[in-house]
Amino acid sequence: MIPFRRSALAAFLAAVSLSACSSDSSTAPTVTPVIGASATAVSSSAVKLSFSSKSGDTGYNIERAEGAAGTFAQVGTVAAPASAGTVTYTDANLKVTTVYRYRIITVRGTTSVASAEISVTTLAFGSAAADLTTDITTSRTLYADTTYTLKGFVHVANGATLTIQPGTTIKGDYTILGSSLMVLRGAKIQAVGTADAPIVFTSSRAAGQRQAGDWGGLIIVGNAPINRSGSVEIEGSGTDGQTVVGGKNYQVLYSGGNTPTDNSGELKYVRVEFAGFAPSLNNELNAFTFAAVGSGTKVSYVNAVAGLDDSFEFFGGGFDLSYGVAFEGEDDQFDMSEGFQGRLQFLISYKSTNVPIRTGAGSYATDMEGIENDGCNGSGCDLGFDTAPFTQPVVANFTLIGPASQSITGAGGGFGMMLRRGTGGYYVNGVLARYPAAGISLRDAATFARAGSAVIPNLATADLAVKNVYIAETPLAFQAPSATQNAFDLAGNSITHGSAITAASLFASIPATGAAPANGETAFDFTPATNSPIATGGLATFTGKLAAKAGTAVVGTAYLGAAAPGGAKWWQGWTNYVRN
């Protein structure tokens, strides 16, 4: 009612002003309706009206109604041209694939008459096509009605914001090797989709023909600190040299940041599929790369699908991520290193089989893990594994399900969590299942030292702790201790090794061991099954350094894993289980 009243007022004012203007008119005011108007959907959100004006008309009011039964309201007016001719009007900001009815009110002096109704349906998402070939140096919006194709290495440059509308699809060109989107330090990405309209990054190949490594990936570079000194470049960047040339794979550095609160924008309801091309040998790109990304950045509801390298890799920095899902990543599902400080809650990974790799894109990893966290590794680790800041994330409510076969994880892989090279962090309320080597590997003395070299770390002082984790369908809870290998006490840390318990029995519904889910499988239900041991046993109250670190971003739960018993199936609808 309110809009109607407002438009009526507008119509009244218009009529007054038009009548005032038309006082000079000598033409007799015999008004006739517009005949033969056309309405064309030009995109998922815009309709173009076109009709002929008649000499003597004052103007035209455009009225719109949504759906078959909606009421009409005026959306705009067009003044009549001086001489008769074609009039066009574009109505924007409409809903996707929605029926709209239009009518045109011809106004002549004080009189008016409506045309017949014309019906039109807005186009589906991505109906138009556009290429992204060069760097984005000024702020730009990508619209949902357009399918964009990344051709080459497209960088969002310092100072620019790339806004992506919900429902937008961006494809990495299969033929231009390694095509990637890199959001550079100082730039922002605002990719906020919805559960109904997620933002999708995928291969340019047709569904059914897509393979891991078809294109590069999504790389976000921030200005937060890392623990390596000197200049460090994004792995795989720089194959086209060091000179900045838009669209080329020039060297991109992520080291030297000093703003822990840096803001690289927001990702929400974003999927990255079939990424992971290796621009140089062994340097595969990840589906999601977060390099030195700071805490001002918001990331939630993100899904990596069939990437050739890691599903999510975090190099230093630190920010909050919630609701992350990794399907069939070919290397580690979550990989944190170089002083990463983020807080992650509600993580799912499901790995069952090797997804075919694009020929020549790279190779399967020799050490695929669920979580692989390193303290510091490589040049610039001035104190070796003791280089500060330590990699010290909070990882809570994770459900990581592996492929149960070492022939898939590679000889060095098959651990639910590989904690090594001096990493710290708090890993709580998790479920690890179907890992062929062991649930957890606590490698090297430096890592154990993070836990105070205690088999039951004291949360008041320890920088590393694993608490309240359920390990199922996995031969060992911890990799067997040796000179360099350590293990935590199970009971003292509420770690349960359900050696005879199958993964399938823990959850409401997951595919059987060794079975590859069908393409488009939607029946995953990671909710604890009735009477599942993971429905309880969570660390509900955080204390000590864990509480301090977690703050309000991550809270304790009474259950283990990524889904609350009877809670929302938050992964449904916007994620996509697909292998080709």
């Binding site: 231009i176 090797l177 390694g178 023909q209 390596r228 000194s229 000197g230 200049s231 460090v232 470049e233 994004i234 792995e235 795989g236 960047s237 720089g238 194959t239 086209d240 040299g241 060091q242 000179t243 794979n249 060297q251 550095l253 080291s255 621009p279 140089s280 040998l281 062994n282 340097n283 790369t289 390099a291 890799e313 190099f315 170089e338 089989t353 090797n354 790799i357 020929t359 020549g360 894109a361 790279g362 190779s363 399967y364 990893a365 020799t366 050490d367 490589g378 040049s379 610039g380 001035d382 104190l383 070796g384 594994f385 022939s407 898939i408 000889a411 060095g412 892989g413 590997s441 490698r443």
Partner: protein
């Protein structure tokens, strides 16, 4: 009767043919040949009158100072030499045997140096050590030489071993020459004056072990620049001269056999070959399979499982070395040379020679590891330690044909052809662990590298009157390096419960489990050069003007392909098979879903085209009796294009145009009592190696690092300052002290860049500057001053002490590198010492040689790690030469008597260490 007489005469004729010496013995005459050299310049002196004293026989020397006097009565002969402007010289005591040709080279000194006539004995005048010192003494700049005679006395089998006897020379990996502690890029190599192309894909360097010692006349190392030398000379120019012809027809042959303590008769592992490896002639048998050549880097292909199986089955099914017993080393050579009227009475000097050596060498107690950063800054911890052994079967053969003839009295034509081929067929088996994967593994590698050099040169020297000489040469040289079908196979070592029952299983995931690599490199050098020299002024104080130019076309084509075979998801039962079972075809059938294959060395191929033109003008001015000043400048115009295709498929080309003017000024001061002082200042340059300019990133398949060139590289400009004092107390003796200082503007250094996940990239960057300061001492002295009976013992030593400092800019280009340090490759000292005893007759000799190179940086540290240091290592060699009977001489060489381990370290971690073992070699030489 008539018939029998005819038979008899035929028989006599045949006897005369088969026993020419006995027939000649009845002829009581001999021939004297030789060469007269200007003691001040080292150049051949034409128009010197050579007279046999007491006879009317005599001649005048030709264009290069050569002379020949036939039918001289046998016995003790004295000759007398005279030329206007030179001190006459009488050489006594030439022992001329009937029917023999006697070779005698003589130096003449300008009359200004010595006014009274000189009388020397033939023995004193002879000897190529003198020749080497003469070369040193007479050259305009600072040079050091090793001559055929010195090589003969040493156990050195090839040019690389011989050249390390030169002061300031370091030889790395038994092949690559560093002079004065400067990296390979600062040393250029030439063969008979023409640049030798480089057969190495990643660097510009000539492995000098390609040249067998038997073919060498001398190796001259020139350390100061004069404008008639190439401008990309900054450390040294190493010129290898092949042997020239002897005066009379001479044959020589040599055979030898050796025992290597680590290999001969021991159990070793030898590579599986295709036949032909033993003589470095594998042809196409190990070539990249045609199907793989066709599919290229696989991009844009969507291979089916059947395609993959087909491709995998193309490779030779050879992955494991075979057990064998090490065979003894063998070598042999022959040479024939002379100066005979071969062509319509035209005398042609010729030398044709061939050499072959092969052997089995081992590197035992081999350890390699990586250093990781320790928890105290700069400290190191050891990771990825592997231990094992390497066995290599090597072969080196080659030959040369050198011809020269006089065309009239003023021209000499020269033709040199050389062909060498070498191969190294090696296996390496090692066991250890990978830190990243946390697994134990066994690695088996078989690698076959075949190199060849072919060089053909034609040239001439013309002398017009006394004042003008003109020489030119055209050279076509080609080198090939092939590394066909290298294999690597990695197995995970899995143990049963409580460490029992070890099982080897193929590391079938990742891209390092089963790798085949094929690489080839072809480089051709076509060079033309011409020099004109004008000599004027009074004898002994002559001035010279020299102009000349050079055009050189270099083309290089490097191609590297590598393929990784994996078997994702393969069960343990498959992985536990031996590699030859896995790849015997059982998993390549239509229904097999085992193999995956991926190309690895994307972007490792490139081509280069280098066009160089140069011209120079230099003058040598005899300012005073005691002062010669040499000055001039050289201009070089270089057009260099490097083309490559990046991993991502885009062609990248780099074009560089460099025009340079390189001035030089030197002075030689002749001081009293046979002393000389040389001063030199020059500007030279160093250009980047071709690969270094290509901005593509690729895997260096030889070392496993990611390498990326830099198209922004500038060439390095070098300012060289040298001073050297020399004293020649007697023939064969020298004492010298030299100081040198070099300032490098924008030197090119191999650096590291860091990337995520602890990976790194090798990169090339211009450092801001570097300084190199050094002191060189050289002494060669008879021990007669100690005791008379020690007169035939000569001691020699040379020591170079140097320091350098390089400063890299703090920027992204060398982010992960230790920024301030010594230059890579620079040793703080290089020491060569030795003692030689030669019997009075010259037929027996004993030589002891010691060589030591100080700790040098092998690679700069990958921050904050310290630099990788190649540790100092002393090498002691002993050689004996003994007459056996008649023309037979025996040689016994004991090598590497200390057997000190090769060791490179990084902090507390031994990065690599092995021993090559002691060796003894015995042989016979026959010189009728």
């Amino acid at each position: 009767m008539r018939l029998s007489l005819r038979l008899l005469s035929l028989f006599a004729y045949a006897a005369a043919l088969t026993a020419p010496s006995s027939l000649a013995a009845q002829d009581r005459h001999g021939r004297i040949v030789g060469r007269v050299i200007d003691a001040a310049t080292g150049l051949g002196l034409p128009d010197v009158g050579v007279q046999v004293v007491g006879t009317t026989q005599g001649t005048a020397t030709g264009v290069d100072g050569r002379f020949s006097i036939g039918r001289v009565g046998a016995g003790t002969v004295t000759i007398h030499l005279r030329r206007i402007g030179f001190t006459p010289k009488t050489v006594t005591g030439l022992m001329l045997e009937p029917g023999q040709s006697l070779e005698q080279s003589i130096t003449l000194e300008p009359a200004t140096f010595r006014l009274t006539a000189q009388v020397v004995t033939a023995a004193a005048e002879r000897g190529t050590v003198t020749e080497a010192l003469d070369r040193q003494r007479n050259s305009t700049g600072v040079v050091s030489a090793v001559t055929a005679e010195q090589i003969q006395k040493s156990p050195d089998g090839n040019a690389a071993q011989a050249v390390q006897r030169v002061s300031g020379v370091t030889v790395q990996d038994g092949k690559y020459v560093f002079v004065r502690g400067l990296g390979e890029r600062y040393t250029t190599s030439s063969l008979n004056g023409a640049r030798v192309p480089s057969p190495e894909p990643e660097k510009r360097v000539v492995p000098l072990d390609l040249f067998p010692a038997g073919l060498l006349q001398s190796i001259t190392t020139t350390k100061t620049f004069t404008p008639d030398q190439p401008g990309d000379f900054s450390g040294a120019q190493v010129d290898i001269k092949t042997r020239e012809f002897p005066a009379e027809r001479a044959y020589s042959a040599q055979v030898g056999s050796g025992y290597a303590a680590g290999a001969t008769g021991r159990d070793v592992h030898l590579a599986q070959g295709v036949g032909g490896e033993r003589f470095a002639m594998v042809g196409n048998k190990r070539a990249l399979p045609a199907l793989l050549r066709e599919v290229g880097n696989f991009q844009g292909l969507n291979l089916s499982q059947g395609d993959k199986n087909l491709i995998v089955s193309q490779f030779r099914n050879a992955w494991s070395p075979l057990a064998a017993t090490g065979s003894p080393n063998l070598n042999g050579s022959f040479a024939v040379g002379g100066d005979d009227p071969l062509l319509f009475g035209q005398r042609i000097g010729y030398l044709v020679s061939g050499t072959l050596s092969q052997g089995v060498d081992t590197k035992n107690d081999q350890v390699r590891a990586l250093a990781d950063r320790g928890t105290v800054k700069g400290s190191t911890t050891e990771i990825d330690r592997f231990t094992g052994a390497t066995t290599s079967q090597s072969v080196l053969w080659g030959g040369l044909a050198n011809l020269s003839t006089m065309a009239g009295r003023h021209s000499r034509l020269l033709f040199n052809a050389l062909y060498n081929r070498s191969a190294d067929n090696s296996t390496r088996t090692e066991r250890g662990s990978f830190e990243n994967e946390g697994i134990e593994a066994r690695i088996q590698r078989m690698q076959y590298v075949q190199r060849s050099v072919r060089s053909v040169q034609m040239g001439a020297e013309h002398a017009v009157g006394e004042a003008h000489t003109f020489d030119w040469a055209v050279t076509d040289a080609r080198v090939n390096r092939d590394e066909p079908d290298r294999s690597e196979f990695v197995q995970q070592i899995e143990r049963g419960p409580s460490g029992s029952g070890e099982v080897l299983r193929w590391l079938s995931t990742g891209n390092g489990g089963a790798v085949r690599t094929f690489s080839t490199l072809r480089e051709t050098n076509r060079e033309g050069r011409a020099n004109y020299q004008l000599v004027f002024g009074p004898a002994g104080a002559q001035h010279r003007i020299k102009v000349g130019g050079l055009v050189r076309h270099t083309d290089r084509d490097a191609d590297t392909r590598a393929f990784s075979i994996s078997a994702p998801g393969a069960p343990d039962s498959v992985r536990a098979l031996r590699p030859e079972q896995i790849f015997d075809g059982r998993f390549a059938t239509a229904n097999s879903h085992v193999f995956d294959i991926a190309p690895l060395a994307q972007g490792g191929s490139y081509g280069a085209r280098d066009r160089l033109a140069a011209a120079y003008l230099m003058g040598e001015w005899a300012a005073a009796r005691w002062l010669r000043v040499i000055g001039g400048a050289r201009a070089e115009w270089d057009q260099l294009d490097v083309n490559a295709v990046s991993t991502l498929g885009s062609p990248l080309s780099t074009a560089k145009r460099w025009n340079d003017l390189l001035p030089s000024l030197a002075a030689t001061l002749t001081l009293p009592r046979d002393q000389q002082l040389r001063l030199s200042a020059s500007r030279t340059l160093a250009r980047p190696e071709y690969r270094e300019l290509s901005p593509i990133k690729s895997r260096d398949v030889l070392n496993g690092d990611d390498v990326q060139g830099n198209d922004q590289l500038a060439r390095t400009s070098v300012v060289n300052l040298d001073a050297r004092w020399e004293w020649y107390p007697h023939a064969n003796e020298v004492l010298s002290v030299a100081v040198f200082h070099k300032t490098f503007d924008q030197p090119i250094e191999r650096v590291y860049r860091a990337a995520g996940s602890g990976t790194r990239t090798v990169f090339y960057a211009n450092a801001q500057r570097a300084q190199n300061l050094g002191l060189e001492l050289e002494a060669r002295k008879s021990l007669s001053m100690v005791a008379d009976w020690l007169a035939s013992v000569q001691a020699f030593t040379n020591l170079t002490v140097m320091q350098s400092r390089i400063e890299l800019p703090v920027n992204t280009q060398a982010s992960a590198t230790n920024l301030t340090r010594r230059m890579v490759g620079q040793a703080p000292f290089v020491l060569n010492s030795g003692l030689t005893w030669v019997s009075r007759s010259g037929t027996s000799s004993v030589t002891v040689l010691f060589n030591m190179v100080g700790d040098r940086i092998d690679a700069a540290g990958d921050a904050p790690l310290p630099d990788v240091i190649d540790r100092a290592r002393g090498v002691l060699d002993l050689s004996l030469r003994l007459p056996v009977s008649g023309a037979l001489t025996a040689r016994v060489d004991a090598k590497n008597l200390l057997d000190a381990p090769y060791r490179t370290t990084q902090g507390t971690v031994t990065r690599e260490s092995y021993r090559i073992g002691r060796g003894v070699q015995a042989g016979l030489s026959w010189r009728p």
